[in-house]
């Protein structure tokens, strides 16, 4: 386990608390409003973190991520509309509980469960850090290539409804990633004589376009948001001791399920929450109460969704493989600050890994306090008109894209990505695979060619090295996973997981 004393500096830093607080505030906004996802918030915020230190950037981004996942449960409870896909399972018991006049208790359990789930997942992240850092010494180009292939194989998991469309978007993302000077030979590819393209396509404006601008246009095309009933009461947020006691085992089980699902790339928090809820029902003494306002169902759904954060950070940080679109954006932010997530990060910057753990803990603590004391504010956020938020997101997205390099080309990149992203989404093409491929493409290609150069063209290098073989086998299993999971996990009562952006 890494040196736990490294947890202290961020915990004792007022600056860190301030940046986390800013991130949590933004996350509450993006998470509470149905349609405004955590990924969208991360994409819009990332360009602005360019001007601060990496630790401070992570404080804001992680604060946003943590609070957005938690806040997604608020409209799920009050409006029966999940704020983020991660809170789909919360609608099944949270909303019925609110309809029984116990909205306050549902909101309170959502906040407590979120903190509990995240806390357990951070313990797992800390425990996993040492063995993963040990792997770093054994990584060469062949292993990095295999890890990138493993990451790319998760495209099937983030493809939503159509694997074929997801694959198409993944290939387009990989093609975008080869634009610019070839990293090995320096040969310009697909630059069409444009000097601005020599460095490749700017990742941040593409991300802002796909998750900011395209999301706004998609929401404009979607149905109007349900309005909050003025009579909704949010008092009485804490359960009685008799109510709380049986919830502990469900909270632990939900958290473990969320962590396990979070560690697996491409199985997002929505899957974690749904499986946690389902498992809780199987082990419950009152399974008939599930779906009708069960407290056990509420706690399982919230712990399952939030515990996935720590779980997904394990793969995102340790392997550089984003577990979902939000993870991809986080990796993009780290790369923007010159930090390459992957095995070497655990070896070279153990302080950063521990700092990230501390920051997520701080974010979850602020979120807990906010969730218990700020229920009225949370319900008021639901009354903000969409149009004002859409306008703000559009202006901030374009301003942020420009501000990064003060380049008009980046503004055009964001606008183009936004318009194309919207048109593709309208026809069911998911954006997650494109972003995953854009991040992992350069890593895959450069390490493929380096490995072949070192082995003098012998392709068996990828299967004769154990770690490389392991990740290639994992990639194959991930590609085949949907064939098995459709048979094993298709429960008649459970809605399908969305595979949508968090």
């Amino acid at each position: 386990m890494p040196d736990l004393l490294l947890l202290l500096p961020p915990l004792l830093s007022p600056d860190a608390w301030l940046y986390v607080f800013v991130g949590v505030g933004l996350g509450v906004l993006f998470g509470s409003l149905p349609g405004f996802t955590a990924t969208m918030g991360l994409a819009v915020l990332t360009p602005f973190t360019f001007w601060v230190e990496p630790d401070q950037a992570m404080a804001m981004l992680l604060g946003l991520l943590v609070s957005a996942i938690f806040s997604g449960g608020v409209p799920a409870i009050l409006l029966n509309t999940p704020g983020t896909p991660a809170s789909i399972a919360m609608t099944w018991d949270g909303y019925p509980l609110a309809r029984q006049g116990r909205a306050g208790l549902a909101l309170g359990l959502n906040a407590i469960g979120a903190f509990f789930g995240i806390f357990l997942s951070l313990v797992v992240l800390l425990v996993a850090a040492l063995p993963l850092s040990g792997l770093a010494l054994r990584f060469g180009p062949a292993e990095y290539f295999a890890v990138a292939v493993f990451g790319l194989s998760t495209i099937v998991g983030v493809s939503g409804g159509s694997m074929l469309k997801g694959l198409a978007m993944g290939i387009v993302g990989l093609l975008l990633a080869v634009i610019g000077l070839d990293s090995i030979t320096g040969y310009p590819r697909f630059t069409f004589g444009q000097p601005e393209l020599l460095d490749g396509v700017s990742f941040i404006p593409v991300m802002v376009g796909l998750f900011g601008i395209a999301e706004v246009l998609t929401q404009m095309a979607g149905p109007a948001r349900q309005q909050l009933d003025a009579s909704t009461q949010t008092s009485g947020m804490l359960p009685t001791l008799a109510e709380a006691r049986p919830l502990v085992s469900h909270a632990i089980r939900g958290s473990l399920m969320g962590i396990w699902i979070g560690v697996m790339p491409a199985a997002g928090a929505d899957v974690g929450a749904i499986l946690a809820w389902d498992q809780s029902r199987r082990f419950s003494r009152t399974p008939e109460a599930f779906g009708k306002g069960s407290l056990e169902g509420v706690i399982a759904a919230t712990t399952g969704a939030n515990a996935g954060i720590g779980g997904s950070l394990v793969t995102t940080l340790a392997l550089g493989v984003p577990g979902d679109s939000a993870g991809a954006v986080l990796i993009g932010a780290l790369l923007m600050h010159g930090l390459q997530p992957g095995p070497l990060l655990f070896r070279n910057r153990p302080d950063l890994v521990v700092t990230i753990v501390a920051l997520v803990f701080m974010a979850s603590l602020i979120t807990l306090v906010w969730g218990l004391l700020g229920a009225r504010v949370l319900t008021n956020i639901l009354r903000i008109r969409d149009q004002y938020l859409w306008g703000t997101v559009l202006a901030v997205s374009l301003g942020g894209s420009y501000a990064l390099n003060q380049s008009t080309g980046d503004v055009w990149t964001a606008v183009t990505a936004g318009i194309l992203g919207f048109l593709l989404r309208q026809h069911g093409f998911p954006m997650g695979p494109l972003v995953l491929a854009l991040i992992l493409g350069p890593m895959a290609e450069s390490n493929l060619r380096r490995a072949l150069a070192l082995s003098e063209g012998d392709i068996s290098v990828f299967v004769t090295r154990p770690l490389s073989l392991l990740f290639l086998v994992l990639a194959a299993l991930t590609l085949l996973w949907p064939l098995f999971s459709r048979k094993k996990h298709s429960h008649p009562d459970l809605p399908a997981a969305t595979g949508a952006d968090l």
């Binding site: 602005f48 001007w51 074929l164 469309k165 694959l167 198409a168 290939i171 387009v172 990989l174 093609l175 080869v178 070839d182 090995i184 030979t185 040969y187 590819r189 697909f190 601008i213 246009l217 404009m220 095309a221 979607g222 149905p223 109007a224 008109r385 149009q387 004002y388 859409w390 306008g391 703000t392 559009l394 202006a395 901030v396 374009l398 301003g399 420009y402 501000a403 003060q406 008009t408 503004v411 055009w412 606008v415 936004g418 318009i419 919207f422 593709l424 309208q426 026809h427 069911g428 093409f429 290609e445 493929l448 060619r449 072949l452 150069a453 082995s455 003098e456 063209g457 012998d458």
Partner: protein, 135 residues
């Protein structure tokens, strides 16, 4: 022709362009692939996926959507915003674009004007004073 089929044809055209563009790329040596290998493999993969997508059944007409007139207008506004980015001062441009957008999406004149002015001023302050960005 709608949905996947139209998109599939666009993807096939893209794949063909990629394959054609890599014709002049230098070859690899000593067993190490050159810069053309990966784009060519991706181009071929895109051909395969595109062909499979062509075979998938097309969707019917896209259902009438909310703000169906405001969406194309917003896309035009975004293009105009990018086009005039360095021509018109940022604060003024943002204010006008936001006002137009809010009106297009049904916000009343008073609310739209106040919101546009406040947001434009806030963004101008954030970018120029806070982050030192020069427009």
């Amino acid at each position: 022709m709608r949905g996947p089929r139209a998109a599939a044809i666009v993807l096939l055209v893209l794949a063909a362009s990629v394959l054609l563009a890599t014709i002049g790329y230098p070859p690899g040596n000593n067993g190490v692939p050159g810069p053309a290998l990966v784009p060519r493999v991706l181009g071929l993969a895109l051909v395969l996926v595109g062909c499979l997508l062509v075979r998938t059944p097309g969707q019917g007409a896209v259902p009438r959507v909310r703000h169906h007139l405001a969406i194309p207008a917003t896309i035009l506004l975004l293009l105009l915003y990018a086009l005039l980015w360095r021509v018109v001062p940022f604060g003024v441009l943002t204010g006008v674009i936001l006002l137009t957008f809010l009106r297009l999406t049904g916000v009343r004149w008073t609310g739209a004007t106040i919101a546009a002015v406040l947001m434009a001023a806030a963004l101008q302050t954030l970018f120029e004073r806070g982050l030192g960005v020069r427009f």
